[in-house]
């Protein structure tokens, strides 16, 4: 069993705290014994590579990911087999974002960071917006990159249940993320959705695989080998 948290933001997400830098986050994950992390910033994979490099020094594996906002204002998590694939996907998503400049004082800072936790620049385009992709288009795009399509926090704001009332038959999602007990024939993830350092460790899952690879993660979702560890989860929302 491997302990993981597959929905975590970095300082590149406008709504995340600027202290969400790689070494500080890695220390927190190490402290909580969480060794497999999905890095899922809003509409971008721009910090994934740096986080993978830093986290590996702490013995933590990064699952490259993203949290995309569809036209319906539904948040979807995408996971990819490699940092390179995630970065290519991120470029496509970038072209589907509106050409609006971010106002950091209103929406928050969007910061790129290096391996020493130093800020190296800012993303100028607004990331706190919807793409122009409908859910089925987004599904097809994620699948074109051989990725996994997971509905994020289904019952919260920007969750598919809140936005669309119920989960549509199509597209056929790979898993869903929830904080409640929901019955589904798909795998269920419970994640921290950490935007601040103190939210790290608030939610984890145990994954019934031996290796921390994308293929194993995919198989774990298919076979529903993801388990919610109630004892180690303290929900903050």
């Amino acid at each position: 069993m491997i302990t993981g948290d597959f929905h975590v933001h970095t300082c590149l997400s406008p709504c995340a705290d600027i202290t969400m830098v790689p070494n500080e986050m890695a220390k927190r994950f190490s402290y909580h014994g969480i060794e497999w992390i999905g890095i899922t910033d809003h509409n971008t994979c721009g910090n994934v590579k740096v986080f993978e490099r830093v986290f590996s020094k702490y013995g933590i594996t990064v699952l490259p990911g993203i949290e995309v906002q569809s036209v319906e204002e539904v948040h979807v998590l995408g996971y990819f087999e490699s940092v390179e694939t995630a970065e290519e996907f991120s470029k496509v998503i970038y072209s589907h974002l509106p050409d609006i400049k971010n106002d950091p004082e209103r929406f928050g800072y969007q910061l790129f960071v290096d391996e020493e936790d130093h800020f190296t620049g800012t993303e100028e385009k607004i990331l706190a917006s919807s793409t122009d992709l409908h859910l089925d288009e987004l599904f097809k795009l994620i699948k074109a990159f051989k990725g996994l399509f997971v509905y994020a926090h289904v019952e919260r704001t920007f969750g598919v249940l809140k936005q669309l009332g119920f989960i549509p038959d199509n597209p056929p999602y790979d898993a869903l993320e929830t904080i409640r007990k929901i019955k589904s024939d798909k795998a269920i993830l419970k994640s921290s959705d950490a935007h601040t350092l103190d939210q790290i460790g608030t939610s984890v899952v145990k994954v019934g695989v031996n290796h921390r690879t994308f293929e194993e993660f995919k198989r774990a979702l298919e076979r529903r080998l993801v388990f919610i560890d109630e004892d180690n989860s303290r929900s903050y929302s």
Binding site: H134, K162, L164, F166
Partner: protein, 107 residues
């Protein structure tokens, strides 16, 4: 109010429906609409996902007006025909569109 009368006040009909309209509701969060919209309602939204038809069918909404020049996808139109729910579109924003219907006495 008859559904066809929505055409007379400037809304473009995409597909027709059945029944009378006695109430109006405006919201883009489908979970809210499911919980709050009354039967025999005209619903104004910018959400065009096919789930709007199921929400309309559940709540008894008779007509949906899609604002801001948004377009229904084909699947949504087909489902609406099946459920006999009228679809309209308009270049007006939701507030302006509500005003027109409110003037006709719909509450």
């Amino acid at each position: 109010m008859k559904i066809e009368e929505l055409k007379d006040i400037g809304f473009e009909m995409v597909t027709g429906g059945e029944g009378e309209i006695n109430h109006g509701y405006a919201c883009d969060l489908l979970s809210e609409v499911m919980g709050r919209a009354k039967p025999d309602t005209v619903w104004l939204t910018v959400q065009s996902h096919v789930n709007i038809i199921a929400v309309a069918a559940i709540t008894g909404i008779r007509a949906i007006i899609l604002c801001n020049d948004h377009l229904f996808d084909e699947e949504t139109v087909q489902r609406a025909k099946k459920e006999k729910i009228a679809l309209f579109k308009t270049s007006l924003n939701t507030f302006e569109a509500c005003g027109k219907i409110y003037q006709k006495g719909i509450r």
